[in-house]
C-alpha cells in the first residue's frame, strides 16, 4: 500500500530579550556561572510573583505578524502543571486556549515550487531550569539544577500537520529559522538549544482523509538531525504498518549516535497538565494600535530582500541568495553599499564589486577561521575603503587581497595598513622601466621566445617585473612597458 507521510512541527524559540519572561534577571544565561542569574521569582520561592516582560510579548506578536497570523485583542497566560525538578514552581506559565497569535502560514520553497504550510499558533511561555546528570560510575548517581535558564522567554510556533516529507519539514525549519534571525527576536542557534524542534509524525494510506496514529519525536539538535530522525521514523512506521502492526502513540527520542528513535514514554500514561488561567497575571488586552505599530516596524524578510537585491542592484540570483542567507550578511552588504563614494562606480557595478569581495575573499577568510559576519573585524567601511584604493589605482587586486587578510586579522583600516607596510601600486614609470629592463636582461630565453613569435612569453616577463617590484607595479603599466621593450628588441633584430 502507498502511504502518505504527515508531519507537524512544534518549534521552541528562546527570545533574546534583555531580561527574563517574568522577572528582571538577565536572560543571557548561556555563559554565566551556574545559578548566578536568579532571583526569588525565577527560583520559584514562596511568595514571589511574575511580571510580564513586554518585549517578549512584542517579539511574539512580531513573529505572529511575520507568519501572517491573526493577533487577537485578548490573550492570557495559563498554568501548565507537572512536577519535575527543573520546573521551579511545579507549573510552567504558558498559554493554553488564547495564544498571542494564531492561524498563519509559512511559505516554503521546494526546488523552486512554493508550498504554504499552516501555522496554527504562536504562544509565549517560560523556559525550565537545566538539569545536569552525573552517572553512577563515580559513586551514587546524582543530578544538579542550574536555574539560570529558568524563566527565559520561550516562544512556541506550532505548524499544522501540513508537511508531507522530511524534506518539507527541513525546508520549513530552515525558513522559520531565517525568519527568527531576520526579525532579530532570537539568536536561534540550534546547538545552543535556543531553537528546538519536536515533530509529530504519522502515516496514512494515500488518499485517506483521516490521520494515522502519531508519535512525537524529540531530542533533535540540528537541521540534519531533524531530517535523519524523521526519515528513520517514517520508515519505522511504514515497516510496522506493512507488517500489519499498529503504531503506538508515544514520545520517541532521537539517538544521534545510533541513528534511531527510541520510545521514551507512552502517551497512554501521559500527564494531565491541568491547565487553568494564571491568577497572578491579569489577562492581556492587546491594543490594535500596538499591533499596527509593531507591524510597521517589521523588518524586510529574506525572500523580499533577495528579490530586491536582484531588482535594485542587478545582482545574479546566486549572489542574492548567499547575501540574504542571514540578516547579518545582508545588513553588512547594504551597509557597505550605503558608503559608496560619490565619484566611484555606479550602484550596480559597486554592488557587484562588494558582493564579489564578500562572497569571495571575505567568505574564504571567514570559513578558515570559522567566524560569521557578525564576528568579522573588517567593517563595511573598511571594505569600501579597500575598494576605493583599488579604484584609485593605489592597490592591485593581488595586494588588495593581502591587505584584506591583514585587516581581517588585525582589524586595522586598509589605508593604514597600506601606509605602514608600504603597500601601494607603483605608478612611476621610471621605476617600472628599470624593473622591465632588468627582467629583459635576466631572461634572454623568454625574450628570444617572444622574438620568435611566442607572444605568451610577454606574460611571463610581466610576472618577473611584478616579482622584482614585490607586486607593486601597476600591472597595466608593466605589461605596456614589457611589450614596448620587446617590440624594440624585435625591431632591432629585424623582422623575420
Amino acid at each position: 500500500m502507498q502511504y502518505e507521510t504527515v508531519i507537524g512541527l512544534e518549534v521552541h524559540v528562546q527570545l533574546q530579550t534583555r531580561s527574563k519572561m517574568f522577572c528582571g534577571c538577565p536572560a543571557d544565561y548561556q555563559n554565566a556561572p551556574a545559578n548566578s542569574r536568579v532571583c526569588p521569582v525565577c527560583l520559584g520561592l514562596p511568595g514571589a510573583l511574575p511580571v510580564i516582560n513586554r518585549k517578549a510579548v512584542e517579539y511574539t506578536i512580531m513573529t505572529g505578524l511575520a507568519l501572517g497570523c491573526r493577533i487577537p485583542g485578548y490573550s492570557k497566560f495559563d498554568r501548565k502543571n507537572y512536577p519535575y525538578p527543573d520546573l521551579m514552581k511545579g507549573y510552567q506559565v504558558s498559554q493554553y486556549d488564547l495564544p498571542l497569535a494564531e492561524e498563519g502560514a509559512l511559505e516554503i520553497d521546494l526546488d523552486g515550487a512554493a508550498k504554504s504550510v499552516g501555522v496554527m499558533r504562536v504562544h509565549l511561555e517560560e523556559d525550565a531550569a537545566k538539569l545536569q546528570h552525573f552517572p553512577e560510575a563515580a559513586g551514587d548517581a546524582y543530578s544538579l539544577v542550574d536555574v539560570n535558564r529558568a524563566g527565559v522567554p520561550l516562544m512556541e510556533v506550532v505548524s499544522a500537520p501540513d508537511l508531507r516529507s522530511p524534506e518539507e519539514a527541513r525546508a520549513y525549519l530552515v525558513t522559520l529559522h531565517s525568519i527568527m534571525q531576520y526579525l532579530g527576536v532570537s539568536s536561534a542557534n540550534m546547538q545552543d538549544g535556543n531553537f528546538r524542534c519536536d515533530a509529530n509524525v504519522s502515516l496514512r494510506p494515500a488518499g485517506s482523509a483521516e490521520f494515522g496514529t502519531r508519535t512525537e519525536v524529540k531530542n533533535m539538535n540540528s537541521f540534519r538531525a531533524v531530517y535523519l530522525a524523521l526519515n528513520y521514523e517514517v520508515e519505522r512506521q511504514q515497516r510496522i504498518l506493512e507488517d500489519g502492526g499498529r503504531i503506538v502513540q508515544e514520545t520517541r527520542g532521537w539517538v544521534e549516535e545510533r541513528g534511531v528513535t527510541v520510545s521514551q514514554r507512552s502517551k497512554e500514561h501521559a500527564h494531565d497538565y491541568r491547565y487553568f488561567p494564571e491568577p497572578d497575571l491579569p489577562p492581556l488586552a492587546v491594543a490594535a494600535g500596538w499591533v499596527e505599530e509593531i507591524r510597521r516596524r517589521l523588518p524586510e524578510l529574506a525572500d523580499r530582500r533577495k528579490a530586491r537585491f536582484i531588482e535594485e542592484y542587478g545582482l545574479p540570483r546566486y549572489d542574492a541568495d548567499l547575501l540574504t542567507g542571514t540578516r547579518a550578511m545582508a545588513d553588512y552588504f547594504e551597509a557597505a553599499l550605503a558608503l559608496r563614494p560619490p565619484a566611484g562606480p555606479d550602484t550596480k557595478t559597486f554592488a557587484k564589486n562588494v558582493s564579489n569581495w564578500m562572497l569571495g575573499d571575505l567568505s574564504r577568510l571567514m570559513n578558515l577561521e570559522n567566524r560569521d559576519i557578525t564576528e568579522v573585524r573588517v567593517t563595511p567601511a573598511h571594505l569600501v575603503e579597500l575598494l576605493a584604493l583599488i579604484d584609485a589605482g593605489t592597490l592591485s587586486g593581488t595586494i588588495a587581497k593581502t591587505v584584506l587578510e591583514e585587516a581581517f586579522t588585525s582589524g586595522a583600516e586598509p589605508a593604514k595598513i597600506v601606509r605602514e607596510k608600504g603597500y601601494s601600486q607603483i605608478n612611476d614609470s621610471s621605476v617600472v622601466e628599470a624593473a622591465v629592463a632588468q627582467a629583459l636582461a635576466d631572461n634572454p630565453q623568454a625574450v628570444a621566445d617572444y622574438v620568435k613569435g611566442k607572444e605568451t612569453a610577454a606574460r611571463f616577463l610581466v610576472g618577473q617585473v611584478m616579482k622584482l617590484t614585490r607586486g607593486q607595479a601597476k600591472p597595466e603599466l608593466a605589461l605596456e612597458l614589457v611589450q614596448a621593450g620587446l617590440v624594440a628588441i624585435r625591431d632591432a633584430e629585424g623582422t623575420p
Binding site: P40, L43, G44, L45, P46, G47, A48, L49, P50, V51, I52, R79, N81, P83, P85, M88, K89, G90, Y91, D140, S143, V145, D272, R274, Y275, F276, P279, D280, L281, P282
Partner: protein, 493 residues
C-alpha cells in the same frame, strides 16, 4: 515623675496604636519601653495564648531603638516605633517564615514581602510571626503544624482562623496590631471571634508580593487592630500599587483616616437576608440586629436586600481555592528549600515522601480537591462552572450596590467554639466561613468590628462595600464604634 513613668510603663501594652503613636509623639515613653512592655506581656500570657510561632525579641528591641533615634532626628511617621506581629506567611528576610507548616519549619526567606518592607521602612517594630492554620487553610488555627492558638476570651476555645495568631495577639495585648491574610474570611472571622477589628481590603489594594500564596485570586493582606482607627492607620501604611504584583491596583490612595468623622447621614445600608443562615447562633443574630439598630440611630437608612447567589458561594470557593492551591503548593517538593525527605535514592519517592510528611491533612485534602477539580474531563464541570458562578456572585453584589452603600451581616454565624469540636468534620469547619467567603470571591472589601457578646464571647459585625470603598467602611465602623463600648472590652488573662 519616675513613679509616673513606671506606672505608665506597666500598661503600655494596653494602648491602641493611635494612643501609642500619640504617646511616642509627645515623648511620654520611648519605643523601646513600649516594645519591652509588649515583650513582657508576651512572656506573661504567651504560654497560654500561643499566638506566636516565632518571637523576635532581639530584633524588636533593635528596631525600637532605631525608631527612637529616627524620632529624635525628626523622621517619624504614625507607625514609627509601634510593635506588631506579622502572620507567618508574610516573608521576612533572614527571619524564619513557616506558614505554620512542617514543610517550611526551618525556611528563612532571602527577601521581605512588600508589606513587611513598607512597615519596616516606616519604623514599625517586629515582635514576631503569628501562628495560623497551615498555609492559611482552616478556620480555627488548629491546623497549625506546631500548636493551636487559644482564644484570649476563653482559653479552651479557638481564636478562629486562619489568622488566629494575629487576632489572639491583638486581643491579648501581645502586639499593638498585626497583619493577617484573608482568602475566605481569615482576617475577619478570627477578628470577630477574638473581639478585635479586622479588615480585608479590596483585592489588589495591598501588594501580595512576598505573601506565601494559598489561593492567588482570593488572597489579600490586611490589618488586625484594637479599633477602627488603628486599622485605618495600618491600611495607610500598607496599601498601594506595587510593580512586583501584577494584580495590584494602580489607583491613587486616599488617607483612610479621613472618613473617621462619626457621621452616617444619608447612608444607605443593606441587610442581605441570605447571610442570616440556618444554624446561626441566636445570640449572634441578636447582637448583629442590635448593631443594625444602632446604625439606624446614627442616621443610616437600612433596607433588606437579596443576594440570591450566596448559597453557591461555598461550593464555588471550594473549587477555586483548592484548584489554585494545588498549583501554588506544587513547588514544595524538597528539591530547592524547606523540608526534604532524604531517606531514599529515588527522586520521585523523595518528592512524594516530602509532600506526604511535610504537609498536614487539611493541606493535602485541599491539594487533592483542587487537583481533581482541574483534571481533564472534570474541568468543565468544576473549575469552569465555578468561574461562571464567580461572575454571577460579582454581578449580584454589583446589583445590590446600585441601591445601597454597604451591607451589614454577621461576620461568623457562631462565636468561638471549643478546641477540637469541629476538627473531625471538615464540612462543618468550612460552613463557618459562609458569611465571609462570597466577599473574597467578588474581590470586595469588608471588615469585622466587635458588636457585642453571645454566650460571653465576642460577636463581630461584618460591613461589606463595593470595590475600593475602604474609606466608607472604616467611616461606618468608626461611627458605630464611637456609639458603643464593645471595642473597649478586654479579655481577662
Amino acid at each position: 515623675m519616675d513613679e509616673l513613668q513606671g506606672q505608665r510603663r506597666d500598661e503600655l501594652w494596653e494602648l491602641t496604636l493611635d494612643q501609642a503613636r500619640a504617646g511616642l509623639e509627645r515623648r511620654a515613653f520611648s519605643s523601646v519601653e513600649l516594645t519591652q512592655s509588649c515583650l513582657e506581656r508576651i512572656q506573661q500570657v504567651e504560654d497560654r495564648v500561643k499566638s506566636f510561632v516565632t518571637v523576635t525579641g532581639e530584633i524588636a528591641l533593635e528596631q525600637a531603638a532605631k525608631a527612637d533615634r529616627a524620632r529624635a532626628a525628626g523622621a517619624a511617621g504614625p507607625l514609627t516605633g509601634i510593635p506588631m506581629q506579622l502572620k507567618d506567611l508574610i516573608c521576612t528576610r533572614d527571619i524564619r517564615t513557616t506558614c505554620s507548616s512542617r514543610m517550611l519549619e526551618n525556611y528563612v526567606p532571602v527577601y521581605s514581602a512588600t508589606v513587611a518592607e513598607k512597615l519596616f521602612d516606616q519604623g514599625a517594630v517586629l515582635l514576631g510571626k503569628g501562628n495560623m492554620d497551615e498555609f492559611a487553610m482552616g478556620s480555627s488555627c488548629e491546623n497549625s503544624a506546631f500548636f493551636p492558638t487559644h482564644n484570649p476570651w476563653d482559653l479552651q476555645r479557638v481564636p478562629g482562623g486562619s489568622s488566629g495568631g494575629a487576632a489572639a495577639a491583638v486581643a491579648a495585648g501581645e502586639a499593638v496590631f498585626a497583619l493577617g491574610s484573608d482568602t475566605g474570611g481569615s482576617i475577619r472571622q478570627p477578628a470577630s471571634l477574638c473581639g478585635v477589628v479586622g479588615l480585608k481590603p479590596t483585592y489588589g489594594l495591598v501588594s501580595r508580593y512576598g505573601l506565601i500564596a494559598f489561593a492567588s485570586s482570593l488572597d489579600q493582606i490586611g490589618p488586625v487592630g484594637k479599633d477602627v482607627t488603628d486599622c485605618a492607620l495600618v491600611l495607610n501604611a500598607i496599601a498601594g500599587y506595587d510593580a512586583k504584583d501584577s494584580t495590584s491596583l494602580p489607583e491613587g490612595l486616599p488617607d483612610f483616616t479621613r472618613g473617621l468623622t462619626g457621621k452616617l447621614d444619608g447612608l444607605r445600608l443593606g441587610l442581605p437576608e441570605e447571610y442570616f443562615v440556618a444554624g446561626m447562633q441566636p445570640g449572634v443574630r441578636e447582637a448583629t440586629l442590635k448593631a443594625v439598630e444602632t446604625l439606624e440611630g446614627l442616621g443610616a437608612a437600612v433596607e433588606p436586600v437579596s443576594l440570591p447567589t450566596t448559597e453557591y458561594a461555598l461550593a464555588c470557593y471550594y473549587i477555586i481555592a483548592p484548584s489554585e492551591c494545588s498549583a501554588n503548593l506544587a513547588r514544595y517538593d524538597g528539591v530547592k528549600f524547606g523540608y526534604s525527605y532524604q531517606d531514599t535514592p529515588d527522586m520521585w519517592e523523595a518528592m512524594e515522601s516530602t509532600r506526604q510528611y511535610g504537609f498536614g491533612p487539611e493541606v493535602k485534602r485541599r491539594i487533592m480537591l483542587g487537583t481533581y477539580a482541574l483534571s481533564s474531563g472534570y474541568y468543565d464541570a468544576y473549575y469552569r462552572q465555578a468561574q461562571q458562578v464567580r461572575t454571577l456572585i460579582r454581578q449580584d453584589f454589583a446589583r445590590v450596590f446600585e441601591k445601597v452603600d454597604a451591607l451589614v451581616t454577621p461576620t461568623s454565624p457562631v462565636v468561638a467554639f471549643p478546641l477540637g469540636e469541629k476538627t473531625a468534620d471538615p464540612v462543618q469547619m468550612y460552613l463557618i466561613d459562609v458569611c465571609t467567603l462570597p466577599i473574597n470571591i467578588a474581590g470586595l472589601p469588608a471588615l469585622s468590628v466587635p458588636c457585642g457578646f453571645a454566650e460571653g464571647l465576642p460577636v463581630g459585625m461584618q460591613l461589606i462595600g463595593p470595590h475600593l470603598s475602604e474609606e466608607r467602611l472604616l467611616s461606618i465602623a468608626y461611627a458605630y464604634e464611637q456609639a458603643t463600648e464593645w471595642h473597649k472590652a478586654k479579655p481577662k488573662l
